[in-house]
Amino acid sequence: MDIIYKIAKEFTDTPGPRLIVEGKFSGEMFLKDVLLPKYKEAIKSDSNLVIDLDGTFGYPPSFLDEAFGGLIKETQTGTSKIFKNLIIKSSRKHYIDTINTRMRAWEELYIK
C-alpha cells in the first residue's frame, strides 16, 4: 500500500528556506524529519512514497533543492532508482520539472 504524504496538511502550507538555521519549515527539516524516514519506510515495505505538493502558497526553489536534492546525497542513490519508490504529485507541473532538474544536478555532484 502506497504511503501518501500531503505537505500542505501534514507539514506546512508555507514552505520555508533551505536550512534549519535560516528559518522554520525548511527544506533541510523536511528532508530529515519527513522525506528520508518515509522513503526508507517505503523501501522496507516495498511500496511507493507519494509526496503531494498541492495546497501550499508556493515552494521556494531553495526548499525543493535542499529537500529533494538532499535525498540523493543522503541515500547515495541515483534518480532512476529513487523514482522507483518515489512519486511526486502536483497540479503545478513546473515544480515537478524543478525537482527533476535539481535531483539530476545533485546526482552529478555527489554520485560518481
Partner: protein, 349 residues
Amino acid sequence: MTDIKTTDKKYIMWKKRRDLRIHKFEIKKKKWKKERKKNTNLEKVDRSIKFLERNYLPDRTISVPNQFSLINNPETTINFFDELIGLIYNKVKQRVYINMKNVETITVDALIYLLAVIKNMRAEGIVYKNPIEGNYPENKEAYNIFVKSGFLDYMNNGLEKIDSKDVSRIYYGSNYDQNVSKKMCVFAHNNSSLTVDDTDYLYNSICEMMLNTVQHAYESTSKLINNWYSYAECNDEDIIYMFFDTGEGIPSTIERNVSFLGIKKEKDSDMLSSAMNGDFRSSTKLKTRGSGLVSIKNSISLDKIKYLSVITNKASNTYMINENNLVENKSDMKGSLTGTLYYWKIRRI
C-alpha cells in the same frame, strides 16, 4: 584760637592714612556684597538658564524633495538621503528636522527607505544625541499616502491610524519570515480574483529575496543594518509590490565576491542585468542562490508581472513586456542607493 588739627602736619598725614583705610574698607565691602549675591536664588536661576542654553541643540532643517520617490525621481531623492545620513552621522550635536511641508507627490518606497535610516539610527543609539523630528505634507493626496502607508506606526506621534483595504502595512525584519510572503499573496487574493495557485510565483520570489537578505547579512559592509521591508498597495488597475533590502546592493556584492577572478569592473546596470539572468553563480549546487532575481524576471516573461523596476547602487533597470517581447531598460545614476529596491506591478484582474 586756631584749629590745631587742620594745620598740623601730623594731623594731615593721619587724615590721609585714615581716608585710605576707609577707601580700602569700602572696596572690601563691595566685594563681600558680591559674594553674598552668589548664594541667592536669583543667581541660581541665572546659572540654570545658562546650563539649558549650553544644552540647547541647534536645529538643522533638511527639506524633502517635492517629488519624494525613488521610483519616479531617484537622483534627487537619493541626494536627499545622502544629505540626511551625513547630518545624522556627523559628530556635531544637533536636532535634525525633516521638512515635508512642500511635498507634492510621494511614493511609499521613499518612506520605506526613510524608515530604514531612522531604524538604523535608533539601533546605533545616535537618535539620543541627534534627535530627529519632522512635519507632514500639506498636499492632501501626499498626506493621505503618508498616513495610510503605516510609516507612522513606527514613529512617536499622536495621529490616529487609518485602516485601508488598499494598502498592506509596512512589514520588516532581519530574519526569514515566510508568513510575510503569505500576507503579500493574501493581499492579492483579497483585491483581485487571483487564487493561491495564481500567486505562487509571488510567494517564491519574495521568499527568495528575503533569503538573500538573511544570507548576505553577515558578509555585508552596508552602512545600514541589513533588514528587509515589504509592502503592497493597489489602485484601480494594478497591485503594486515593493521589497527593500538594506544590504550592500547587488553590484557591490558581486564585485566583492568575484574580485579574486580579476573580472573587469562593469557598470552597475550591466552587473545587475547579468545577475537577473542568473550569472555569477559559481557551482551547480549554488544555482538556486540568487534565484529570487531570476524567478521574478521569469515571471515577467511568463506575463504574470506587468512591470518590474530594480534600483540598486547606481543601477536603475526596468523590465516590461512590449508586443510579446521582454524589454529591458538599463541606466546608471550619479548617486548610489545603499541596498536594493524591487518594485513591481501585477494586473488587478
